[in-house]
Subunit: 88 residues, 4 copies
């Protein structure tokens, strides 16, 4: 019985270590992610400090992610809608 | 002591009712909000069904929220940036 | 040609009205949703004013959405994990 | 005038490079952040594969971020509220 209990505790110990390691890995990664989010904020703060408009930079970045044709098609649909609504 | 206890229970009862009413009010409002979110989805689904592009409609709606001058200024900054980056 | 143009404009006019109506419906719903979000904030502000903790109320509301067994199972898993990590 | 124009273009060129560098830095950081988000997902997928409940692990991680007293106070408020509402 002592043995069984020993095994049981051993098994529990191993699982506890496994769980702890998984959680510590996730926590380290969350920390890194937070650090990078701060670095990104710093880039935009620096851009702002140099006279750029952070919001417009973000828009440019969103456009850069798109294929040129996709962007052009979106722009032309937008124009049709704005024209129809008397916004242009 | 019986009185004190009575008061205590009475007080607790009143607070419990107060708390319950607050929570039920918040829950009803959350339900309403969820219903409206579904109505909004329905409008966009209907727009899509009629051949409109929901994403472009959302962009139009975002532009409509802005003052005309603000939008024009944003657009001109965006153009300067895109020109500088050879995107136009 | 004048006729064709007339038809074209007519068709365009109808579509513009359809688009405008869809957008105005979506905007009204967005307004309603915003109003309800403010009502929800008001309930929590009132709760806070009466000495309740808004964050705990939100937790209670999240628990109330769950089935009792589901909540109990989640709690027992959480306890096992916290025990394993020496948090209890 | 040629000189002024030269300076103007030169100035524009420098600004374009500066803007491009800022954007490329932000984009690299966004890429890194995305990579880390995927690594975090991988940890939870691995945990799930080993029989752990990812959602409970996230709860444990949220609790670990809190000071012990803060967590205990939150738990005791929650208990009072759940008691008052007949949830315990």
């Amino acid at each position: 019985m002592g043995d069984e209990r020993g095994e049981g505790m051993g098994g529990g110990q191993v699982a506890a270590d496994e769980l702890r390691l998984l959680i510590e890995r996730a926590e380290r990664l969350e920390e890194e992610k937070k650090g990078i989010s701060e670095d990104i904020k710093d880039v935009f703060a620096e851009a702002k400090g140099r006279g750029y408009d952070p919001k417009s930079i973000k828009t440019v970045m969103a456009i850069r992610k798109k294929k040129r044709e996709q962007y052009q098609e979106e722009q032309s649909i937008l124009e049709v809608y704005m024209q129809a609504l008397g916004m242009l």
